[in-house]
């Protein structure tokens, strides 16, 4: 965002009512509700955003309660997700990591989850949900680059990142942190590639 104007909550970003993330409308105009910036085409890019689940989002979570009716899943959100027991054949245990799709979101934010898959043992790290698109990259370019270099890794829209036990966990944590800190700078994929090249060189030496 070098040199670009910062937009603070409450600032007008359009003279018409338009629906964009991180903004709200009054009767004539659109205003930012979070910090962001305007890109070259005048589009509003939020810098910070709280994640609110949308149907069909892929989320990663952890089973925190098992009951007759189903399982509660911790999703890095104020509300828990719920997996109805009748919908799945596999038996989950407390502490299992799962990846699933959001099937339904109620008005108060509770979620029903579907397409449940249990993840093998691994490490979970938290990543800002607003920056998840950068961690995945255009056409999965970033996440594939990471997979090639560290091993199996999975990103949920809710900001939980799962790293396989078999992967290079310290390296994965390092690169995820690097992307978090530099998410709004250009040329990120190139810099991550250079980082991996350097890491490899260090290992050879």
């Amino acid at each position: 965002m070098n040199g670009r104007k910062i937009i603070l909550p409450g600032e007008k970003i359009a003279d018409a009512r338009v629906q964009v993330p991180g903004a709200f409308n009054d009767s004539q105009a659109t205003y930012a509700s979070v910090v962001g910036m305007l890109d070259e085409e005048g589009r509003f890019i939020p810098m910070e955003k709280k994640y609110r689940p949308i149907v069909d989002d892929v989320v990663i979570g952890m089973v925190t309660d098992a009951r007759h009716a189903g399982y509660d899943v911790e999703l890095n959100l104020p509300n828990v997700g719920f997996i109805p027991a009748r919908d799945i054949r596999l038996k989950l245990e407390l502490g299992d990591f799962v990846v699933c799709k959001v099937r339904e979101v109620t008005e108060t934010g509770d979620m029903d989850l579907a397409d449940v898959r249990r993840l093998p043992r691994g490490q979970m790290v938290v990543f800002p949900p607003a920056k998840v698109p950068r961690l995945i990259g255009k056409k999965l370019s970033m996440i594939n680059l990471i997979k090639e270099n560290v091993g199996d890794i999975l990103v949920g829209n809710n900001g939980y990142v799962w790293i396989s036990e078999k992967a290079d966990i310290p390296l994965a944590i390092k690169v995820v942190k690097m992307i978090d800190e530099g998410a709004h700078f250009s040329g990120l994929t190139d810099r991550v590639a250079a980082f991996f090249a350097k890491e490899k060189q260090n290992k050879v030496i």
Partner: protein
Amino acid sequence: MSDELKDMVMSRIKKDVMLGTLAKGTRYDGRQLDEFRPISVQKGALKSADGSALACIGGTKVLASVKFDVATPFADRPTEGVLITNSELLPLASPSFEPGPPDENSVEFARIVDRAVRSAECVDLKSLFIKEGKVISLFLDLYVLDHTGNFIDAGTLAASAALSDAKFPKVEGDKIVRGEYVGPLNPRALPISTTLVKIGKTWLVDPTREEEMVQDCRITIATTESHVCAIQKGKGSLTKQELLDNIDIAFKRGSEIRAML
């Protein structure tokens, strides 16, 4: 979702995975087992205090303040000044800290630092005597501002730095003249603590919050240049040999960190 529940489940699952990484001799942040995170100390962070310091170990930040007042001495030590150590685990420092009166972790923290400072005789309490029934009291306040693990060592470090930054107050009659000093406080020793946790069979220095979450045992050892001056075991158990080995590490790390003050 409550943070405790999240921590509880996280720790159970994480431990196995973390053990795998530790078995290779590295930690999640790439450190050696006996390595501290980067340390920085800034003395004189506050003008309102008679001595102050901000100590950072990695992302953990503790602010220490030294402030003098006039008090009545304890009946059994009528010629000695009073040292009072207090701590606040500020709720802004961690999602696991809650507002309210100090909990057991906060009290334990203050008491560890207090014991280290007291046993090392950093401050000659007799020098704080004014006249019969009047002594100087020294308030040592520890504020945890950001908790990414191991605030105890950051607290001891901040306390030692604040004491070495402190100036001895000017006393007129039985009142302290604010803002005027007779010279530096010159602490006689600077205790430094080293906290180690055991995960599985591995001991590691300066644990992060994640490592604290999965710890089997915790030990804090405070040292001066020549002596051990405070020990506190947290959860778990350890052998005699483990304790002695850890004391050796504490002396080594302690002298390195003390050199920064």
